[in-house]
């Protein structure tokens, strides 16, 4: 057997109780040995990991890859390359593409493009309703057969409670997991968090009740239907309490928070910087702290909510700019900033970006353990990242002027080195 050796890196993986400096031997795409030399075989390649961290590959539960349909914003190749820069090995692509991911053909197209690009493994989230119109059920069973790990309506509204209930009932029948965003669109007519900053700036605010009212409805229906439920992109403290109470009632529900909501608050909108026009909106410092606590307690996954845009999409007065941040190029550096500030724990970060997401989408064999496929990133935590050079086609990066550190020196997806 011919091995690839990662030599002397600090291995960090809470799922396997790992925090140790050890050698890792990889062959046939899998981890053959950790900390001891295999009895037979020879070293074909070796990578010096001294002074660096080896962490499990990151798994994203929600990103917009812009393809098909939005070639001016990005492509699966450009966006997965940018994702690789932050250590992502698996990405759930949201279905609001053009055409919408509501047919097996689009699912297949995305998978093929991702395979051609050769970076992260892309798992398309199928549309829960046809065309994401929120009126008719999509071919939900066929979409999961085509390879969708779950179905989602992105942030598009479902017409009414009747349709939402039917979506859940149908999904529950076949054990299909739903990714739902809690967002009452009749209350969400705004472009930032409803708070003192919005009042001062004269911008339409979205109150937290736009999220919590919708969440309450979803949780009650999940309880009734027994659907496998994941809440995408929560943004406020109250939602965490509601999720905790739901779990206490026996509802099996997971959730994620976009990284931007852990890093920034609504005050980032001061100065009308349209890069901070995002959905869900950035909320108060109290919300940010509550979300960080939930992540540190292992209650939430962290998603990228990556959404690349061309310059023109953001070059407009704040409320006219298209919402979204290009986050892949700076996901890991921003997370490391939180870790360096003592706000986010290393183990909690890995759990929130790898272990919990893997559980949500039933991805087996993830983590740094012998026998698992080798999905991992070798990270130089102290190296300064050069954000003047972006891999994503999106120009809407929120931290281009910041000095950030955290460089992925090598990334392995199912044993293949892609970066």
């Amino acid at each position: 057997m011919r091995y690839c050796l990662i030599e002397g890196a600090r291995l960090l993986d809470p799922a396997n109780n790992l925090d140790t400096v050890a050698d890792v031997y990889i062959a046939d795409g899998k981890i053959q040995a950790i900390g001891h030399k295999p009895a037979a075989g020879e070293i074909e390649t070796s990578i010096n990991g001294a002074g660096k961290l080896l962490i499990p590959g990151l798994i994203d539960l929600g990103a917009h890859l812009a393809e098909p349909g939005f070639s001016q914003k990005g492509s699966i190749a450009t966006e997965t390359k940018a994702a690789a820069r932050s250590g992502f090995t698996h990405i759930c692509a949201l279905p609001d593409t053009k055409p919408v991911t509501d047919s097996s053909a689009v699912v297949q197209l995305i998978q093929e493009k991702a395979a051609q690009a050769g970076y992260a493994e892309v798992m398309p989230l199928g549309a829960a309703t046809q065309g994401l119109q929120g009126e008719q059920l999509a071919n939900m069973f066929s979409l999961t057969e085509a390879g969708c790990p779950a179905l989602s309506n992105a942030r598009q509204p479902i017409k009414d409670s009747y349709v939402l209930q039917r979506v859940m009932e149908y999904a529950a029948t076949y054990g299909i997991r739903l990714f739902l965003s809690a967002n009452d669109t009749t209350l969400a007519d705004g472009c930032m968090h409803a708070g003192p900053t919005a009042t001062r700036m004269g911008l339409d605010g979205i109150a937290e009740t736009a999220e919590t009212i919708a969440l309450a409805q979803i949780l009650l229906m999940a309880e009734q239907t027994g659907v496998q439920l994941h809440i995408s992109q929560i943004s406020c403290a109250r939602s965490i309490n509601m999720l905790q109470q739901a779990r206490e009632r026996g509802i099996n529900v997971t959730a994620d928070v976009p990284l931007a909501n852990l890093v920034y608050t609504d005050e980032a909108v001061n100065g009308y910087n349209s890069q901070f026009n995002v959905l869900p909106v950035l909320r108060s410092e109290a919300d940010r702290q509550a979300l960080l606590t939930a992540v540190n307690n292992g209650e939430l996954a962290i998603s990228s909510n990556h959404r690349p845009h061309e310059i023109a999409a953001k070059k407009a007065p704040f409320s006219d700019a298209e919402p979204g941040m290009s986050l892949f190029d700076c996901f890991l550096p921003l997370a490391l900033k939180l870790i360096a500030a003592g706000e986010l724990e290393w183990n909690a970060f890995i759990k929130a970006t790898s272990q919990i997401p893997a559980t949500v989408i039933d991805l087996a064999g993830i983590g740094l353990a012998e026998g698992n496929y080798f999905n991992a990133a070798l990270v130089d935590v102290d190296a300064t990242v050069d954000l003047s050079q972006l891999y994503s086609k999106g120009e809407n990066i929120p931290c281009a002027d910041e000095a950030l550190s955290g460089v992925v020196n090598a990334l392995f997806v199912n044993g293949a080195q892609v970066l």
């Binding site: 708070g195 919005a198 009042t199 004269g202 911008l203 339409d204 009308y272």
Partner: protein
């Protein structure tokens, strides 16, 4: 890199170069605007009303939202400063994409304009334009969304100062649709900076932002409480569409609860003045007897509006020129 509006609108040595908002400007600078406007009031009373401060300069009235009154006063102010003026009314649909808005700006810059007076339906639009035009073009905000209408606020400050001697220590009540009012926001910032003792906002919960205290105003839901012992009562215009958006039941009920009548005005100080940015909806925000009564200074506000706009335009252009000279000198 973006800047907060108050950083963006000042030169390095603290002079005005754009006028985007009253927020964050110093008391000294706001007072300078009022003093300069005061001096222009006297020039308006002469038979020859023009002064040559903007001679040879081109001012573009860039209105993405209709406003005959505001546009006319800016036009008159520019003409009285001897500027050449171009009026452009651009429908929002024509510039719904930022790219098109930028195209419009670049075209106007290519015509060597010196100043844009901007009215736009989006909060922050004037700020956006100030950030993206080339240096040395002064931007005057003539109203952006719900955010700011700083010249209207300053003409109100001038009105208060001329009728009450000073703004310091005064209790001012602003009544009506605070939620959608750019005028109210600019007034609150200016009043706080200029030393008003208390700024009250009065209206129903649907028209008062939850966090209005954060910008220094005290909310009242009943006229009877809010008007008590006020020195100044500022009534805001009520847009008819507020009735259609479930914010109010009817004009009649609004007038009953928040319309300024002679009887309600008795709650304020006996020498309180009554203001309104106009145009007035008689019988909706205010009854005719009050609008035309001896405590009303509504028509004076209109006259002062031209002087304030002249002052702001002259000061911004002067600040721009000084910046340009500094750059030229550094290059030399």
């Amino acid at each position: 890199m973006t800047h907060s509006p108050h950083q963006l609108q000042l030169t390095e040595d603290g002079r005005l170069k754009h006028f985007l908002t009253t927020e964050g400007l110093s008391k000294a600078l706001l007072t300078e605007i009022l003093d300069t406007a005061d001096s222009f009031i006297s020039t308006q009373e002469r038979s020859v009303k023009k002064v040559p401060l903007l001679r040879g300069k081109t001012v573009v009235n860039l209105f993405f939202e209709n406003s005959t009154r505001t546009r006319s006063t800016f036009e008159l102010a520019a003409k009285r400063l001897s500027a050449d003026i171009l009026n452009l009314d651009i429908s929002k649909s024509a510039t719904s994409k930022g790219e098109t808005l930028m195209d419009t700006l670049w075209n106007l810059e290519a015509m060597y304009s010196d100043m844009f007076v901007v009215r736009h339906a989006d909060s922050g639009a004037a700020h956006f334009i100030a950030e993206h035009v080339t240096p040395n073009v002064a931007i005057i905000n003539a109203g952006d969304g719900r955010h700011a209408h700083p010249t209207q606020a300053m003409l109100d400050m001038l009105t208060i100062r001329r009728h009450k001697d000073s703004i310091e220590g005064k209790v001012v009540a602003i009544v009506g649709d605070i939620l959608h009012s750019r005028v109210a926001r600019s007034q609150i910032h200016a009043l706080r900076t200029l030393g008003a003792a208390e700024v009250r906002v009065i209206g129903p919960g649907t028209l008062l932002p939850n966090d209005i205290e954060a910008i220094g105003a005290k909310p009242f839901y009943r006229m009877e409480d809010g008007l008590k012992d006020c020195d100044v009562v500022i009534m805001l215009r009520l847009q008819k569409e507020r009735m259609q958006n479930a914010l109010l039941p009817s004009e009649g009920e609004f007038f009953k609860l928040y319309g300024l009548t002679e009887q309600k005005l008795l709650l304020a100080k006996p020498d309180a003045i009554v203001m309104h940015p106009g145009p007035i909806n008689r019988g909706v925000e205010i009854e005719s007897a009050v609008a035309d009564g001896n405590q009303s200074v509504i028509l004076n506000q209109v006259s002062y509006g031209i002087a304030v706009r002249m002052a702001v335009m002259a000061m911004a252009m002067s600040g721009q020129q000084q910046s340009a000279n500094l750059i030229t000198n550094e290059e030399a």
